[in-house]
């Protein structure tokens, strides 16, 4: 007999286990089912920097959090309603984040004395009452899986490894997720190992059936599809969206895409994705280091390609000298920095927003460049196109800032109408009156001509040594240098009139506090602002995509509010720039924990400030 069904408007589930337990895969699949079901969602994978830390230890814990709802949501959520803990380490590592009353599904098979000891549990928390505050479902997931699989021609090890599918099946039933996608997925993934495939399918179904039949779960939950704008949707991570954006930009500009890159967490997946896309004529060059990566991209740009390089913090530092050269020779180049926690190697798999000032100033001399940042995983697609637009139009390197949270996090994305994407075609220089002036500038954009090798009559030399404006010949003339320094600055400043003004979301127009953010904090700030408003608080929100130059109206926007709060996952980098720009006494709010903000923390800060304006 069917069980009673309870409606929920939103749920946050966290799958946690050992690096070897396949939690990322499990989370991915649950996310896909949820996506196809039509909920809005947001995810937060979280894994160790090591490939595989010792089994059963805290550093080895890998988790995946998914937040889904019947309305549009902005973050992966602060506190899980459900924790799936595949072993004691997973339980201990995640317990602190659980609100009292949350459901905890533990795999009791793994709660052996040895495993408990590994994380310092003297007694078994599942039995010693220390979980009384939660709804604990103690299940022998491993043995149930193995039992379900007896008769299958696979090793015990393989049988045990299928336990994540059992768990997935159980959760899929519990939240009434459509299972087809996962079944198809397993068919495809294990096509070459039919026995393994059958085992995983069986395990999944066993989990599902267990949920349906066991007394352990009295109710099944239902989260209705969200009413999102009509269209075709897919779930997408920031890195994939960024890669797609670059391919789109290449198609829209008609320029072949050349990526020069060196692997680095969390940027590598962009290289991986683009490497697959040779049918689009994409050339990916895995260089010997970051310097060669951007060097090759610049060489390709000199030849008329869309030159791109992708990296993260430490690699970005190494690229500085070549970025400076690109700025000097004024060629288009797109530089993607997927920020991670620093300084130095820092915490490679954790997120941070602390490369902003490096992006602006990490080069010798006066070397201004356009800098833009992505706000959500899907926004990486649009910002990649915008970065390319600016680079091609103004003949300048452009820095695009993403971060580890956007890179690996995902959200549903409404596919854009390809026909509606901007036209990025460029006109290469054509032979005109001689002598050719490689540094004669377009009076409007101040961009210089892009004259590519192969064009007769435009032979010219470019150099990182200061060049005479116009002829481009080496010049040590004092006046010319000052002119060039100011022209390079003016070119970047001028872009302010070619980008949309900052839009402020201030429903009743009577808020006295503005919360201004940039980059991946968009979701958490947005969620916090909503909650504050639900509580009757008046607060305005604005988010910056363009950080250099700032939109022309930013100064006015700032002066339009009594107080401006600037939350950043750094020590106040945008704050410094805003104060420098406007002398407005903006108030920073900074957490630097390698994680996205908790909306709850922001709610608190915003309410505090409202009560004091």
């Amino acid at each position: 007999m069917g069980k009673q069904v309870q409606q929920l408007d939103r749920v946050i589930i966290r799958f946690a286990g050992d690096s070897g337990d396949g939690m990322q895969l499990t989370g991915d699949r649950f996310t896909q089912e949820t996506a196809t079901f039509g909920n809005d969602l947001s995810t937060l994978p979280n894994f160790p920097a090591e490939i595989r830390a010792p089994a059963g230890t805290l550093p080895g814990v890998s988790s995946f959090q998914v937040h889904f709802a019947d309305h549009d949501i902005l973050t992966p959520g602060d506190a899980p309603d459900v924790l799936v803990a595949m072993n004691p380490a997973a339980l201990q590592a995640n317990l602190d984040d659980l609100p009292r009353g949350a459901d905890v599904i533990v795999n009791t098979d793994e709660f052996t004395r040895r495993n408990l000891a590994k994380v310092g549990y003297e007694t078994n928390p599942v039995e010693d009452g220390s979980l009384d505050a939660y709804q604990v479902h103690a299940l022998p997931l491993t043995s149930m899986t193995v039992k379900a699989l007896d008769g299958h021609e696979i090793s015990k090890k393989d049988a045990e490894r299928a336990k994540n599918m059992f768990a997935l099946g159980l959760l899929s039933w519990l939240y009434a997720r459509p299972a087809e996608g996962t079944l198809d997925f397993l068919q495809a993934k294990f096509a070459r190992h039919p026995e393994i495939m059958k085992a995983n399918v069986t395990a999944f179904q066993a989990g599902w059936n267990f949920g349906e039949t066991t007394e352990a779960f009295s109710v099944q939950y239902e989260v209705m599809p969200a009413t999102l704008p009509a269209g075709t949707y897919r779930n997408i991570t920031g890195n994939t969206a960024l890669a797609y954006g670059l391919i789109a930009a290449s198609q829209l500009s008609g320029l072949p895409l050349f990526l020069g890159s060196y692997p680095i967490t969390p940027a590598s997946d962009i290289l991986h994705e683009l490497a697959k896309r040779k049918p689009f004529g994409v050339r990916t060059f895995q260089a010997e280091d970051e310097i060669a990566g951007i060097g090759a991209a610049l060489g390709a740009a000199f030849g008329g390609a869309l030159g791109v390089t992708t990296t993260s913090g430490p690699g970005m530092t190494l690229k500085g000298e070549t970025i400076s050269l690109a700025a000097a020779v004024e060629l288009p180049l797109v530089i993607c920095d997927v920020q991670r926690a620093g300084p130095s190697t820092g915490m490679p798999t954790k997120t941070e927003q602390a490369d902003l000032l490096q992006a602006l100033f990490g080069r010798s001399g006066e070397c201004p460049l356009p800098v833009i940042a992505s706000a959500t995983p899907a926004d990486c697609f649009d910002t990649a196109i915008e970065a390319t637009r600016i680079a091609l139009k103004y003949r300048t390197p452009v820095i695009l800032l993403s971060d580890g949270y956007l890179a690996n996090g995902s959200e549903p994305w409404r596919l854009p109408d390809v026909a509606g994407l901007p036209d990025l075609r460029v006109a290469f220089a054509q032979q005109g009156e001689a002598p050719f002036q490689p540094y004669r500038r377009d009076p409007r954009t101040l961009a210089r001509p892009w004259a590519i090798p192969g064009t007769a009559g435009l032979e010219h030399r470019i150099s990182g040594i200061e060049r005479a404006n116009g002829s481009g010949n080496i010049s040590y003339d004092a006046d010319n240098h000052e002119r060039m320094v100011r022209l390079r600055q003016a070119k970047v400043d001028g872009i302010a009139h070619d980008i949309p003004p900052v839009k402020v979301d201030d429903p009743d127009g009577d808020a006295r506090l503005l919360v201004l953010g940039w980059g991946s904090t968009y979701g958490s700030i947005g969620a916090a602002v909503r909650r504050v408003r639900l509580g009757g608080g008046k607060v305005a929100q604005a988010h910056l995509r363009h950080l250099s130059p700032f939109p022309a109206n930013l100064g006015d926007v700032l002066s339009g509010y009594e107080k401006v709060l600037v939350p950043e996952i750094n020590l106040g980098q945008l704050t410094l720039l805003l104060r420098g720009l406007s002398l407005a006494d903006v108030i920073p709010y900074n957490r630097v924990r390698g994680q996205p903000f908790h909306a709850a923390d922001l709610v608190y800060v915003i309410q505090e400030m409202i009560s004091h304006v």
Partner: protein, 360 residues
């Protein structure tokens, strides 16, 4: 040049257009005054290079010269082609990106012993390993010229310079050995003062598909004058210079009576052979007949070790020239195949790949 003739071109230039009418050396001179010291070996190399260009038979607009930083790296400013005077040590990386994306260009890299072997050493060996279709000319004056005379990775041990007033203590690289150790497919050496020889080496490099490495001994009269004097003095020259000619027995010394033979330990030893001796003549049996195409670089490597700081025996010419598809050619092939294949090549389809769902 006719279609037919064009197809006769070496693979390295097959995709590069040829000229309508023959150009002259002067067509490659720019209006910039050349800024090297009087007597600098770079002048001779520039002259030889410009004189070689017409022979290369590539339109000026399809020739690109890329350099790093150094006196030598000023080179592109004096070549009326496309040019990129970049930053210290990075020219091979920049050239790689250009060559890989533009097979219709003839790409030349100009570098120095500091630019190419000190700060740029890694890019150099990786470009050689990958066999990217670029031609690298390393002007080796065994000194940092532009920065006014510090020792370089090719300076002889014990050298007194601004930065080593007590004498340098590190052993120098042998650039030819290093290139061979990096699995380079084309490795050669020439001398600034021997225009004819240099031109021959340039020709061979241009014809080679893939990365060509040419070390050019270059005199810096200001900071390291006469560094290569022993190879230039008429008196000693013939005994010291071992001119390598593919297919020819290796002969040198006054009267060309000296030859080379491998010892049982795989080192080369100098042996006397009657001048006239043909390769198969008993007396000369076992002495080397130069072969640039040996797949095993051990042979070329052994030749490179003949060289010694004292220039007792210094081979010049092409050490190695073997066939291996170039990186850019392989990349182009992969792209063609991929485009011809089943993979997604439509933007809309790409965006909609994976699980999608409809709303509304």
């Amino acid at each position: 040049m006719s279609e037919a003739e064009h197809d006769q071109r070496p693979a390295s230039l097959r995709l590069v257009p040829s000229t309508e009418e023959r150009l002259a050396a002067k067509d490659f001179k720019t209006d910039q005054d050349v800024r090297w010291c009087p007597g600098c070996g770079d002048y001779a190399i520039l002259a030889a290079f410009q004189a070689f260009m017409p022979e290369l038979d590539v339109p000026r607009e399809n020739v690109v010269v890329i350099s790093g930083i150094g006196c030598s790296s000023r080179f592109p400013h004096y070549m009326d082609t496309y040019g990129f005077h970049s930053i210290h040590g990075r020219a091979p990386a920049i050239a790689t990106g250009l060559a890989v994306s533009r097979p219709d260009l003839s790409v030349w890299v100009i570098t120095g012993d500091g630019d190419g072997l000190s700060i740029g050493g890694n890019h150099l060996i990786h470009a050689l390993r990958r066999n990217v279709n670029i031609k690298i000319l390393l002007f080796n004056n065994r000194i940092y010229g532009l920065t006014k005379g510090q020792y370089s990775p090719t300076s002889e041990q014990g050298k007194i310079t601004k930065s080593t007033p007590f004498g340098s203590i590190d052993a120098p690289f042998n650039p030819v050995s290093l290139a061979l150790g990096a699995d380079a497919t084309f490795v050669a050496r020439s001398v600034d003062s021997d225009r004819k020889h240099l031109t021959g080496v340039l020709r061979a490099a241009a014809d080679h598909e893939g990365a060509a490495f040419i070390e050019i001994y270059q005199n810096c009269p200001i900071f390291n004058d006469d560094a290569f004097a022993p190879l230039k003095e008429p008196a000693s020259r013939d005994d010291r210079l071992v001119r390598l000619q593919h297919g020819e027995p290796v002969r040198f010394g006054a009267g060309r009576t000296k030859g080379l033979r491998f010892s049982a330990q795989g080192s080369l030893e100098v042996v006397e052979v009657p001048g006239s001796a043909a390769p198969d003549d008993p007396v000369s049996r076992g002495t080397l007949v130069h072969d640039v195409q040996r797949d095993d670089p051990s042979y070329a490597f052994a030749l490179s070790r003949l060289d010694s700081e004292g220039f007792s025996h210094t081979p010049i010419g092409v050490f190695r020239k073997v066939e291996r598809p170039s990186y850019d050619a392989l990349m182009a092939t992969q792209i063609e195949l991929a485009k011809a294949g089943q993979g997604i090549d439509d933007l809309g389809t790409l965006l909609a790949s994976g699980d999608t769902w409809q709303i509304g």
